[in-house]
């Protein structure tokens, strides 16, 4: 994987990104704005499960309202993320934070898909809201996405953060 990353760093595409000094900051800025959209979408839905906001709407209605933003922003993050990786492939490939982040994103995306599906029926929405596990899951989901944010920032400090668990070249 690291050899692939090293090779990727020599391709015209990668050099194209590396040589345009404004591109990575631009992509990162868009990435951060999208973090705001993704995270707050999750936060609002979690707060609804906890009965703190939008209790004039069903949980299903709240998810319906925020899911399109969540998924669209996540797509934009995937696209900006891929170009960011192409620009600095070895940095990402050698970062424990990067791989953990990808794993947790897979968990977060799966859980969002599962959540959306279980809200399909109106009755299920009411059942889900009332379930004991729902409140725990709401908090756990927020913590999950906060951890993903942390790991994203930690990529730049992977050695300091992980010490001997940093993958390195």
């Amino acid at each position: 994987m690291i050899e692939f990353a090293e090779w990727l760093g020599t391709t015209p595409l990668s050099i194209g990104v590396q040589s345009r000094s404004w591109l990575t900051p631009l992509l990162q800025s868009i990435h951060i704005l999208m973090i705001g959209v993704v995270f707050v979408s999750i936060l609002v839905v979690a707060l609804r499960v906890l009965g703190r906001v939008r209790t004039d709407e069903s949980l299903a209605a709240v998810w319906q309202r925020f899911a399109p933003w969540f998924w669209t922003a996540l797509c934009v993050m995937a696209m900006t993320g891929i170009v960011l990786i192409i620009g600095e492939p070895v940095r990402e490939a050698t970062a424990m934070s990067f791989w953990l982040k990808m794993a947790l994103i897979a968990v977060g995306v799966s859980s969002a898909v599962y959540f959306g599906r279980s809200l399909r029926s109106v009755a299920a929405s009411g059942v889900l809201e009332a379930s004991a596990g729902a409140r725990f899951m709401a908090v756990a989901t927020v913590v999950l996405w906060l951890t993903i944010i942390f790991l994203g920032r930690a990529i730049a400090y992977d050695l300091e953060v992980w010490g001997s668990w940093h993958i390195g070249a």
């Binding site: 020599t10 050099i15 000094s21 990575t24 900051p25 990162q28 800025s29 951060i32 704005l33 973090i35 705001g36 959209v37 995270f39 707050v40 979408s41 936060l43 609002v44 703190r52 906001v53 939008r54 004039d56 709407e57 309202r65 906060l146 944010i149 942390f150 994203g152 920032r153 930690a154 730049a156 400090y157 300091e160 953060v161």
Partner: protein
């Protein structure tokens, strides 16, 4: 207004030195800063969209405002604390950083925009809270807020890329950009 004395004091403080010397402190401070600004921007964005009438004006604006802005303020507090710590560790460099200055100006303008909205435009909220289009002043406030907070994020990111390193190439040096292998 010359704040170099204050800036140098911040830079030389015990806290600042500890932060610089600690391996893990700054990554953690930065990560918390990102979590906080994501929350600030995301919540403000929702309120601003509602001011612009998106997706609709069916739900009460004031309810949305009350429920979300407490999170905005809490997150903003965390962003300020972490932001001050971030500034401190390299205070002298950041004080002279254009992106940082523009970011603070943008935040100030966002604050003025908000103050005008809260103290003037929002006084009439009962007449436009739900079911009717929002007044022009509200839409202007919403649009300005989005533009300003997006710029805050962009300027903020640019600080890290314009930290004052001098990369200009000396005149008598030939650089070889041929990649090996």
């Amino acid at each position: 207004m010359d704040l170099t004395g204050v800036v140098e004091a911040l830079h030389g403080s015990g806290l600042s030195e500890w932060l610089r010397s600690s391996l893990k402190a700054m990554p953690i401070v930065e990560a918390i800063h990102v979590m906080a600004i994501a929350t600030v921007f995301g919540t403000i964005f929702i309120v601003d969209l509602r001011l612009l009438g998106y997706p609709n004006v069916q739900r009460s604006f004031w309810r949305l405002h009350q429920e979300l802005l407490r999170w905005t303020w809490g997150a903003f507090g965390i962003a300020v604390v972490t932001g001050v710590l971030l500034f401190m560790v390299n205070a002298i460099t950041y004080y002279n950083n254009t992106a940082l200055r523009l970011k603070l100006v943008a935040m100030l303008l966002a604050g003025v925009n908000m103050a005008v909205f809260e103290n003037v435009t929002a006084k009439s909220v009962a007449t436009w809270d739900k079911g009717v289009p929002t007044p022009t002043a509200a839409r202007v406030a919403g649009a300005l807020s989005i533009v300003l907070w997006v710029s805050v994020i962009f300027f903020g990111r640019w600080i890290g890329f314009t930290k004052g390193y001098d990369f200009s190439i000396p005149e008598d040096v030939q650089l070889d950009f041929e990649f090996p292998g």
